[in-house]
């Protein structure tokens, strides 16, 4: 297990470094500087700006300096939002994004697992068809379509929930974004739960449990459910990644003050340090969540370790 963990962690570090390097140099390839505006700056102002952001130094030095900053949690200064450092923007936005993502993940598990179990227990029945059919639809639809549609139905037509915005501590504002984000994950979990429970229910140890005269609930809860949950647990890593990167969309749709908004705004404004900081943040989160998922999977299933 320890060797497996070390191998996985050692595999993650170079990927992260490649991500940082790639985004740094690709963004520098872009035509036009960050300070090109309609009204040209005077050379003196321009030189001062370049000096402030370290743009007057050689590219290699800039790169090393950026890496050094990253190691200390410093993502540099934003080009467009002049008074902010990228780190402080992240500190503002991350709690909101994390809250939406976490709520979505919990919602997806709480809805997806029972739905999958019901579908598997009533295989071929109405519930099964409804669940598998809806899952196909929910997986196919992107969040930027379902988000506005949900807002239209629940916010504008029914007036049950606020359409957009964010009020600190008011969970009502969390419901629609979290639901939008949870739908595809919930569908995937339900589908997976159904598949693995059907497989487990056909296994011989379940037949043995039934033969011993145990009731259907006891067989399900004590014997079948636990092994059937394993694939779902291992899916939580990718699901968490999906949810955190998907929060980008939902934050745009529902006007939430999270980090995803900064990424989109940064890309539109060509605010290179901001885009880079966000990409590195999301990339690192993705890699860490995948790593965590791999480690949990290796812990649960010893066969993976010796691969």
């Amino acid at each position: 297990m320890l060797g497996y963990a070390v191998r996985r962690i050692a595999g993650t570090v170079p990927t992260l470094l490649i991500l940082v390097t790639l985004s740094f140099f690709v963004i520098r390839l872009a035509p036009g500087g960050p300070f090109d505006q309609e009204r040209a700056l005077t050379p003196q102002v321009r030189a001062n700006l370049d000096h402030l952001y370290g743009l007057d130094r050689p590219l290699g030095v800039q790169y090393l300096h950026y890496l050094d900053g990253l190691a200390h949690g410093d993502f540099g200064l934003s080009y467009k939002l002049r008074d902010e450092s990228v780190s402080s923007l992240i500190a503002q936005g991350l709690p909101v994004s994390a809250m939406v993502g976490f709520a979505a993940l919990v919602l997806a598990i709480l809805l997806g697992v029972p739905l999958g179990i019901c579908a598997a227990l009533r295989r071929g029945g109405v519930v099964d068809y409804a669940v598998t059919g809806l899952a196909t639809v929910a997986i196919a639809l992107p969040t930027f379509v379902t988000g506005p549609l949900l807002a239209l139905v629940f916010g504008l037509a029914l007036c049950w929930l606020p359409v957009a915005g964010w009020q600190q501590g008011d969970p009502l504002y969390l419901i629609l974004p979290a639901l939008t984000l949870a739908l595809p994950v919930c569908a995937a979990i339900a589908r997976m739960m159904r598949g693995s429970l059907l497989e487990t229910l056909g296994a011989s140890f379940v037949r043995t449990a039934r033969a011993r005269g145990l009731g259907p609930w006891r067989v399900l809860l004590r014997h079948a459910l636990r092994p059937a949950l394993l694939p779902v647990v291992s899916y939580l890593g990718p699901a968490a990644t999906y949810v955190f990167t998907g929060s980008l969309v939902v934050e745009t749709v529902f006007a939430l003050p999270g980090t995803g908004r900064f990424l989109v705004q940064g890309a539109l404004d060509r605010d290179y340090t901001l885009v880079m900081g966000m990409i590195i943040l999301y990339g690192a989160l993705t890699l860490l969540l995948n790593l965590a998922a791999d480690l949990v999977y290796g812990w649960l299933d010893p066969r993976v370790r010796n691969d």
Partner: protein, 291 residues
């Protein structure tokens, strides 16, 4: 006929696959809807009296209705939503299909070479795929869109296609590894055929079935990416329309003009669902062992 034993082009297997596909009513229905949507996207705008960027001052933000002059309504600038949606559909389909072609091209070449050559080449090529796989896909597209600037459809196409080939490369490599062991490849090698010729004449044609399945599933994925970039404002620019940018516009106007959201969203939903259903149907028909 020696080759006929391999997957995909086996006449018996292929016909039975087609028969299975024809019996799959969902998949057939989806294929019909896709063809209908494609025809509508190609010819629809010509048959309408309106153009996608013409402003109709007498009909600003009119709601849809069969008796109205604009079937599916207009936006606040008086542009016909039906024609704009069809233009968006055309663009989404075009980019989806072309970007899929780009990613199929790269993916098949990469996977087939890695799988056939094997050894250290294989492990390096697949390591590269692993590393790229770990990069957040969406963000790569966003970086590329940021760097290359907004609005260029060609660059958008390349950016989306260039990151869409990874799954294809993995699948193709796996298939190639299996094909490599077959007698007809050994026979081809024994007759003195070079690596490139074997790849082009014997390996790649036999990958057709698998590639068709994954290409069908890649199209909706890439359409989603294109629409998403346009939704964020990084893709197609005004006055051109993509389904994504129309949905974005509709989401902002949904309080006063909900049809502006519903019409393009309906087109996109139909398109994505049908491609997914067709892809699932193809997979079940051509490769019964999957799932």
């Amino acid at each position: 006929m020696i080759e006929a034993q391999a997957l995909g082009l086996d006449p018996a297997r292929a016909t039975s696959g087609m028969r299975r596909l024809r019996q799959d009513r969902m998949a057939v229905g989806a294929a019909v809807v896709i063809v209908a949507l494609a025809l509508l996207a190609i010819f629809g705008p010509w048959l309408s009296p309106y153009s996608y960027d013409a402003l109709d001052w007498r009909h600003l933000a009119v709601s849809p209705g069969l008796t109205a002059s604009h079937w599916l309504g207009t936006d606040p600038l008086g542009r016909d939503l039906y024609v704009r949606s069809l233009y968006g559909l055309r663009l989404s389909l075009l980019i989806g299909v072309l970007a899929t072609a780009v990613s199929v091209g790269i993916g098949v070449a990469w996977g087939a070479v890695a799988g056939y050559v094997g050894g250290r080449t294989d492990s390096w090529m697949m390591r590269t795929v692993d590393v790229l796989y770990a990069l957040p896909y969406l963000f790569v597209v966003i970086i590329l869109a940021t760097v290359f600037g907004r609005g260029s459809i060609a660059l958008l196409l390349i950016a989306i296609g260039a990151v869409g080939w990874l799954t294809m490369a993995r699948v193709v490599r796996g298939q190639t590894l299996a094909l490599k062991q077959r007698e007809f490849i050994e026979a081809a090698r024994a007759t003195g055929l070079g690596t490139a010729a074997i790849l082009l004449r014997h390996i790649v044609p036999n990958l057709a079935g698998t590639v068709a399945v994954y290409a069908t599933l890649t199209i909706p994925e890439l359409i989603t990416y294109e629409s998403f970039l346009s939704f964020l404002g990084l893709g197609v620019q005004e006055p051109l329309a993509s389904l994504g940018s129309l949905i974005n516009e509709g989401a902002r106007q949904m309080l006063t003009a909900p049809w502006m959201l519903l019409v393009p969203a309906g087109f996109l939903i139909a398109l994505l669902l049908c491609f997914n259903l067709l892809g699932d149907g193809l997979r079940d028909a051509l490769d019964p062992t999957a799932r």
